[in-house]
Amino acid sequence: MENRAIFSGRLLACLLVFPQLAISLIFFYWPAAQALWQSFLVQDAFGLSTEFVWFENYVNLLKTPEYYQAIGTTFFFSLLVVFFSLAFGLLLAVMANRNIAGVQIYRTFLIIPYAVAPAVASVLFIFMFQPGLGMIARALQRNGVDWNPVLNGNHAMILIVVVAVWNQISYNFLFFLAGLQSIPRSVIEAAAIDGARPMRRFWTIVFPLLSPTTFFLIIVNITYAFFNTLGIIDTATEGGPNGSTATLVYKVFLDGKAGSDLGGSAAQSVILMIIVIVLTAIQFRYVEKKVHY
């Protein structure tokens, strides 16, 4: 049963762990420490004057109503993105997991959207949804929908959710498809012989067996919705209108880059980091228990 690799000397072990450690140190711990340090400072854009202010940046942040709005926006947006991108990814994977002619071609087409950069995806969708110019926007307006994402916060939210989901479906599709293909046919066939209908087979056998994949994808998708949608939001709505699509990571970017408010931006990134650590911990602690490997 015991199947551990045992190293005779400490040196070899250290040597083997070193590259991974070095990468973590350089690309995670060092920048994280920098952000933490920066969050205690008030500094001008050029770095000419620096003042150590303890927790003032945090206090200021927690006094702004817009920050709480951003927290709410982030959770709402992430929930929608994770749910819809997983649901559609799974749906498409189930459909593509059948024995039909040309299945390879369908699969390839379903994977292609992942190759489109988020910013490019945004631009594509903006062209379609821009009031007065986009085809879809014009069609909506002709049919009596007062579509206007530059002024209506809900419309702007729909727009970025659609782009973010569209951009992520392929990734989820790919993993779900691989997951589906690793489920033994015999189990499903046995259930079919016992008279279980397709929906029942799916929810009682296939879906539970997919749980490791689903769990992995939930974490990846939450991270995606929290962090990687920055480009989409920047190109599609710039956080507007009235801050209704400004997620936490977008605010970090906006205040730090456009506003040159490095201290405030660093404080935000530290809080964001803590939120994500807590979220991930909760998932591993509680959700993972429901996963059957």
Partner: protein, 438 residues
Amino acid sequence: MALRHFGAAAAVALTVGMTASPALAVTEIQWWHAMTGPNNDVVVKLANDFNASQSDYKIVPTFKGSYADTLNAGIAAFRAGNAPGIMQVFEVGTATMMAAKGAIKPVSDLMKEQGEKFDPQSYLPAITGYYSTAKGEMLSFPFNSSSMVMWVNLDALKKAGIDAPPKTWPEVFADAKKLHATSPTCGFSSSWITWGLIEQFSAWHNIPIGTKANGLDGFDTVLEFNNPLETKLLENLVELQKDKSYDYSGRTNTGEGRFTSGECGLYMTSSAFYPNVKANAKFNYTAVPMPYFPDVKDAPQNSIIGGASLWVMGGKSKEEYKGIAKFFTFLSDTDRQVYLHEVSGYLPITKAAYDKTKASGFYEKNPILEVPLKELTNKPPTENSRGLRFGGMVQMRDVWSEEIEAALAGKKSAKEALDAAVSRGNQMLRQFERTATK
């Protein structure tokens, strides 16, 4: 075959390298800018012409992305000890640059030190005012300036039964309603809303945006644009937004296509929109000065500029400064300014260049290009119309836009939105003041 080509290319590269090496005494000056398309060609041509005119200095222009990208690239380079000699910074970045004492070299100091002839009086006052200290010392070198105008679709006006382009805000509101009857989605719209509806609007009506001459006289400025006139404007727009007689088109200029496509008959945006309208509008068009409220005494005043100026970075060598000073003298040349104005659509920055363009009859054929100049020179600038200088202006414009959006979307009243814009802006100003003065 391919290999032989490679050999030949290498040989050529080698000879070029060797013949170029004796000229190593040439001082290279990096010029970071944000000009795209035809205006990028103008920048390259200016650099080439200057380089060809003498053999001691070489201006090397580099495109660094949008205005904000260029500013950020410059700041990052400075922090890494590697700033360019000249940086093009848009007008709202002025306070950020100015507050960075030691990071920049004021242009008036540079020209004096280098003994170059430099007379601030020869520039258009509305332009110099924006880039000068309270004492009148020019901090940066004006490069490309524009102002805001009202673009008019003459065909759409005729169709709506309107005889002449509107001059006042009440006329704009009335025309917007009539235009809306013919175009269900838009009568009147605008780009760069904070620039147009707060910054230009205040200057045009000679009312302050903030204390201390809109921040030009000190960083301890307090915003105060939540006044009755500004509230009246916003209330009217909110009312028109309800049926889309006015229809909001976003914070920047992404909605400008709504004018050229004929959707919005009236459109307020930068005069630099001209080349685009010329290329794309399939209707009779013109541009007129920004509207004003006729019940405001002495309105209109004068407009303020947009666009960018050139900043000289600190800590460079003597040779570099000498070259930059010579380059600025080269740029100020009247004929060169006339050329810049006519080819780029941006404004001439010197009085002599304006007069010369006028004398040549250029504006008779291109009356639209004179509209922003007439706005800028309408009256001598006052405390409220010299320009503005607020720290963190890029971020602040976002905050102001957010509040205007809240009003237009009906989430807040006009007054509530403006009060919030002012108080949120003031917090940012205090933060900026704190780092700027130390």
